[in-house]
């Protein structure tokens, strides 16, 4: 294992500046490691030539002592639903298997402008519809924490951004970009033992992110520490002319206090009781209780609160997801881009066959269900109804964060991220896609309903040696406090994201 992988981005940058390491060497090693860890299936495509060029450019800047940012020369991976100029962007689907975007997503262009080295594109569930990274054209992604990566005993990485999470957990890159519609960043972060941030809706541009559910999609960030996560957020966040749904308020770069300087005595933590749902494992419950206790010991006020509409959220999420999917997927017809079937009888026939061949069963079912729920006779009963309940869910958050009586307000909510450690692939694959998502997204999708930021941080290992994580949520645009508290917890629990047995096996 490479010694520099233990370092933070800040330390890496410092070693570039003093000449101890070079962006070219780190990039070359990362590309070698990615090949060595092919069995994880984290990447669907590596971009060695572009990466080498970016690393070379970065190295020259360091030679001139003029790095352009605090991400200059840092290796990063991008989920394959972000458009990358002249690099295939497939959404892990047959539909977009040959799609080569002529432009960069804003997230990618900002990373490139900051001098980051982009190693390649990571695996995902087809069109980000899933919670396991098991429904990909390129096959499932494996979790590096699995007891056994070979036989039938490997664990899923979670999803839908499982490739990005897996790449960061395996030390193939320092950070990765994912997307989060209902938990697609936090869920795999939780299973893979890395930090996963879903920023406030509208804080990070969606331009070039192939849409799933426009009103909930946000680019997500994976890293091995909270401060690395902040470095990425500071680079990609802020208004974008190319996405009219970005928040127009200028973004102020986050600057977290050092751990020793963090004072939690004025911080109010809420424990939303409804997040203890059926299926929550005893170990996650124990972890949740312990961290709440640690916060209380540090002087934070910790109280139980109620978000009464939590359990309805998964149903609302499923309805809205299917409806927006039905609309979003209408663009794929095989004419301008995407898979084109060999059927020239009529336009409609070509559309239908291209879609039949290009989409998997999960995508098709969501389109059909979405269109059923949107039929004129059903529109009010399902779609509008779901949007009304969505307001109740968002109001639950608003009440605890700002509109209730002052003594009842809280600043941060502490909850589980996923209900269990990473499941075995064979157990997970026996469920339907809907049940996979309904169980695994229970704690994560409410934040997407309301647009709040949420972060998953790894806390400890389960008895089976797998990461257990917790989620923190805050009011919109309060990433500063959210990540400060996350950083404090991180320092208390000292979870080592690279301490997996696979690495030990490899290093023996």
């Amino acid at each position: 294992m490479r010694r520099h992988l233990q370092w933070s981005i800040k330390q890496l940058i410092a070693s570039y500046s003093d000449g101890q390491l070079s962006p070219r060497r780190v990039t070359e090693e990362a590309l070698q490691d990615a090949l060595r860890w092919k069995t994880l299936n984290a990447f669907v495509r590596l971009t060695p030539e572009q990466a080498a060029q970016q690393a070379q450019d970065s190295e020259e800047r360091y030679k001139l002592r003029q790095p352009i940012s605090d991400l200059d020369g840092v290796t990063i991976a991008i989920k394959d639903n972000f458009c990358t100029k002249d690099v295939h962007t497939t959404c892990a689907s047959r539909m977009l298997q040959d799609f080569v975007p002529p432009y960069d997503a804003t997230v990618c262009s900002r990373l490139k402008q900051a001098g980051a080295v982009i190693l390649g594109k990571t695996n995902m569930d087809q069109f980000a519809m899933g919670a396991g990274t098991v429904d990909s054209l390129y096959g499932p992604t494996k979790n590096i924490w699995s007891e056994d990566l070979d036989k039938d005993h490997w664990r899923i990485a979670g999803g839908s951004s499982g490739g990005s999470a897996s790449a960061v957990a395996a030390g193939l890159c320092y950070a990765a970009i994912g997307s989060d519609t209902g938990g697609s960043t936090r869920n795999p972060a939780s299973y893979c033992g890395v930090v996963g941030l879903k920023p406030t809706y509208g804080l990070v541009s969606r331009h070039g992110l192939i849409p799933l559910v426009n009103s909930m999609d946000v680019p997500g960030i994976f890293a091995r520490s909270v401060s690395d996560c902040v470095a990425i957020l500071n680079t990609v966040a802020g208004p974008d002319k190319l996405d009219s749904t970005t928040i127009r308020k200028p973004f102020t770069r986050l600057n977290l206090p050092e751990v020793g300087q963090i004072d939690l005595s004025t911080v109010r933590i809420g424990i939303p009781k409804e997040y203890h749902c059926h299926g929550l494992s005893a170990e996650v419950l124990e972890t949740w209780s312990k961290v709440a206790d640690l916060l209380e010991c540090s002087g934070a006020s910790v109280r139980q609160v109620s978000l009464p509409n939590t359990a309805a959220s998964i149903f609302v999420y499923t309805i809205l997801n299917q409806c927006e999917v039905a609309s979003n997927m209408a663009r794929y017809d095989g004419i301008e881009y995407g898979h084109r079937a060999a059927d020239e009888r009529s336009t409609e026939q070509l559309y239908a066959l291209s879609r039949a061949e290009g989409f998997n069963e999960v995508v098709k079912t969501r389109i059909l269900t979405g269109n059923f729920l949107l039929l004129k006779k059903n529109y009010d009963h399902y779609f509008e109804k779901a949007l009304r309940v969505r307001r109740l869910i968002a109001e639950d958050f608003a009440k605890v964060f700002d509109s209730s009586a002052k003594e009842e307000r809280v600043d941060i909510l502490l909850t589980p991220t996923t209900l269990t450690e990473a499941p075995l692939y064979k157990d997970f694959a026996s469920l339907t896609n809907r049940d996979q998502c309904a169980v695994q997204d229970f704690c994560t999708q409410p934040a997407n309903m309301a647009g709040n930021p949420a972060v998953s941080i790894p806390i400890r290992l389960s008895r089976a040696g797998l990461p257990l994580s917790l989620q923190l949520m805050s009011n919109s645009l309060n990433e500063q406090l959210l990540l400060t508290v996350a950083r404090w917890i991180e320092a208390q629990v000292e979870f080592d994201s690279l301490e997996h047995t696979q690495q030990y096996k490899a290093s023996l």
Binding site: E274, A312, I319, S346, R355, F372, A394
Partner: protein, 148 residues
């Protein structure tokens, strides 16, 4: 084994400023816990028994709208169960609650002027089409209803 040890060594260096604290005991709590120790149940009606009728006409309409086949018994069963799943929120009282279309509803979002800001990218845009003729996309004859 040597490499394993050396890795440990680096670990220590990386965290030197923050000496490994005594290992946390997750069973040990100082305060009465605020985390509910038993599941907080929410009641939702069981909709799995309700009969979902979808007639042939509706199926054909859905197929036309979706341009996706609903051809197997399994696909139909999945559709029906998804509808039952969606029925779970029907009982929730939403009188006088307005739909929430976007979480940015209180913000003035940016609208740009209706002006061309980029262009001269015909080749780049067309290169993703499978069939083109000179500068045009090519599609088979239109206005022919889908065979069903």
């Amino acid at each position: 084994m040597l490499r394993l040890l050396s890795k440990r060594f680096y670990c220590k260096i990386a965290t030197k400023s923050n000496e490994k604290a005594t290992k946390l005991d997750f069973k040990q709590l100082t305060h009465p816990t605020k985390v509910p120790q038993t599941p907080v149940d929410a009641e939702f009606p069981d909709t799995s028994a309700s009969e979902i009728q979808i007639d042939t006409k509706t199926i054909q309409l859905l197929e036309r709208l979706s341009l996706v086949d609903l051809d197997s018994e399994r696909a139909l069963a999945t559709l029906k169960s998804s509808i039952q799943f969606a029925d779970k929120i029907a009982h929730i009282n939403t009188d006088h609650v307005r739909p929430l279309y976007t979480v940015l509803e209180h913000q003035q979002l940016q609208l740009r002027n209706d002006q061309v800001t980029e262009g001269d990218c015909r080749a780049e845009v067309l290169r993703n089409a499978k069939v083109t003729d000179e500068d045009y996309y090519v599609s088979p004859p239109g206005n022919i209803p889908l065979e069903q």
